[in-house]
Amino acid sequence: MGNEFKESITKAVNNANLTGALGKFSEAYKVNRAKAYEGIDFEELRGRIADLKGYAAAHLDQLSDEFTRNAEAAGATVFRTKDPAKVREYILKIAQDNGVKTVIKSKSMATEEIHLNQYLEKAGIEVGETDLGEWIIQLAGQTPSHMVMPAIHMTKEEVSDLFSKEVNERLTSDIPRLVKVAREQLRPTFLAADMGISGGNIAVAETGSIVLMTNEGNARLVTSLPKIHIALVGIEKLIEKYADVATILKALPRSATAQLLTSYVSIITGPTPNSDGSMKDMHIILMDNRRSEMAADPKFKQALQCIRCASCLNVCPIFRLVGGHVFGKVYTGGIGTILTAWFDELKKSEDIQGLCIQCGACTDVCPGKIDIPELIMEIRRRLVQDQGLPLLQKTIYAVVNNRKLFHGMLRAASIAGKPFASGKFVRHLPLFLADLTDGRSLPAIAAEPFRDRFKKIKQPKLKEKAAFYAGCLIDFAYPEMGESLVKILNKGGIEVLFPEDQTCCGAPARYNGAYEVAASNAVDNIKALLREDVTYVVSACPTCTVALDREFITTFESLGQTEWIPQAKILAAKTVDLSTLVTKLVAEGRLTLKEGRKLGKITYHDSCHLKRTLKVSDQPRELLQKAGYEVTEMFECDTCCGMGGSYSMKLPEISAPILQRKLKNIKDTGAPLVAMDCPGCVMQIRGGIDQDGAAIQVRHTVELLAEQLEK
């Protein structure tokens, strides 16, 4: 990551105004969004949207033709181009041919994408943004920090300073008064403008209509007052059927701002009369700018299902810390990273793709059903393919790829780490590594890894067998978790095998775009885990479980390697996470937890991969309750803890505040104990609590359950 990029992050996370406004908004958004969707089957709705937008993305040419035919029949002029430069030239030509001096605009990300304002202004045409947020940032000479709320990063004091300069009068920071000033200032501009430029939220092929939504009412004025209206529409806004407008409008305002509907919706089909009786000169520009290339890409075509609601920004734990400017000048957040990689260039996404911690919060809320984290991983993969890995990473993966060397180094580290370890933690690391322990203690490498301890466990001979996939953290940092797992499964009538040749699950490599390394890890693990005939392959690490259950397969698929896919599928079918397996054993009466005990309050932290990828969240809570704990929910229980594997090492400046927030939410419950199902989360949260000094125990569910087994 470049220094400049790192500096922009540091600046953002230390901007209290920004993090305050975004933090407050993200909290309110979740509550309000849920309320707006009350009584609506969101999964059903987004299934329909994904289908209709997916269809449109697969038929862009056909729908563009149909749209053009119908819009022109209605009297509009349609201009189609792949090239942003042609868009700018076309608009300028219409302006010059008609002697246009001033242009008013309603919000349009597509015009931002092609930097239209600067271009027109250079040609001597005055361009006025009319969306309040856009106007504010135009006055400030800035770029939008959020796709829906462009000026969310600014305080009312900053806005009042800007407006005061504009009206030559010292204004207070009273928000209603500032809004009134904007109304009064912009009204004459509206009335005098020669041309209106809008975007388009939807373009309907069947009727040649464009749909515009605003809350402020500016798009109504932009499309009504000037005699010329130009709508710039990216072809991904096309849909086939007019009736489907209602489907998108059901989701877009709810997901964008938690409204049932925006104040104004206009469905415009061809020109309408001006107030002097003449007919409006209406132009619709269908802009491609790499969208059809995107549609032809088997991985990225789904990104065209985006309806630009920005809900992926609103729920992103990273976005609420850093805001939009860190992401660049136009599209921001998760989807913005993907759009930037395409509409701008892949290289531009090099730094920003690293911001994604892969927590999957966005996949839960995306009304277009886009797997944004997966697409960001694909960007990583392609970047690595294009440019290769940084040298340091190359060295690390060369080691990870050689199990014996890797494990040998981990063993060596248990001794080498001693000078810095105190008890169970590494508290400080020397020199540049010190950042890694900033706000968090790291676990000391266990003196005796699980693979050695396993040999000493005396298990009964049982008919049913499970292979335990430990993963690096349990094997080398938390072997006691593995011992607890063996104890529980034995009690449930399952004998545990530990295939010695198992190695790293490949997640670290995969999450850094090194798919070849991940694939090689996958092959080693498939061989090791399928060697013995077992009913289950069980893991107590959700990230590892996801790797075994899905990512081995998708990694092979991404690389076009088919040889191991059948084996990977067999492995996936056997793979199960600890809580799900224990729940099953309890339900079948094979395992009993001690009944009727009162163990007091506990709170539970949902790990990203367990809750959102594997959809497991009730099981551990119910097990803990059965064991006698009183589960008290923390605020944002399923928000990422900031670990994200190597993320916390690459971007400690982001990881640390996310952890602090998690710690606060844990402490606020008053519970003396917090449970979770992921050793990575334990490492992050236990390390944070250690530095914080709070008297709270951080435990893996497996340990707590093992203590409460009926003898």
């Binding site: 209603p176 109304r183 209602a246 206009s266 469905i267 009369p273 009786g277």
Partner: protein, 216 residues
Amino acid sequence: MLYEQFKARAEGVSAEVFKFATKAEALEHLIVFLRTEGLADTPQATALWAECSFLDGIDRDAVAVNAGLKFGVTRELAAHARFGISQMEWALADTGSLAQNSTAIEQRLVSSLSTIHIALVPTSGILPDMPTLLAKVHPGDCAYLAMITGPSRTADIERVLTIGVHGPERLVIIFVNELSGPPLPTSPRLGEEKTPSPSGGGLGRGKNGNDMGGNK
């Protein structure tokens, strides 16, 4: 039932909702409202009433004795009007929205430039939701379908909800039971008639525009 749902939703977004059995009662309420809110024949105090079927059979001269209340929408009058009065043909119960064929620019001028928009709505025009509306109103018959949900709003400064940016800061909705709903479109479909309307009329795409408000 639909009305109750509409009212709750519309009030939830700060609209003000009334209902009257007759046009006479609605008119009386409207005039009292205008006077109370400072109607006068001075800039930023006038009211501008766009053509609509509500006005059929109403003695406009008698109504216009209220100084400042005007008919005959122009851009200049609209720019200076405090009150804009128009008839919205439909209401959507599940979102508290109003909808109108706004092809005629006069309809948009009074509802977008005014500070207070007063919408007259036939009670029979309440529909359950947007899919029902879109099934009824085809773009071939309606070049500019406008939906309005509450007053103009923004939250662009510090996420504080503020009412009245570029559009009206108040939306007053008056349902009238005896007002008949919009006729089903019978005029030429899209593409068959594209002659721009003569000046002054400004009523939509040729003949279609004249259907604005219906009953002509």
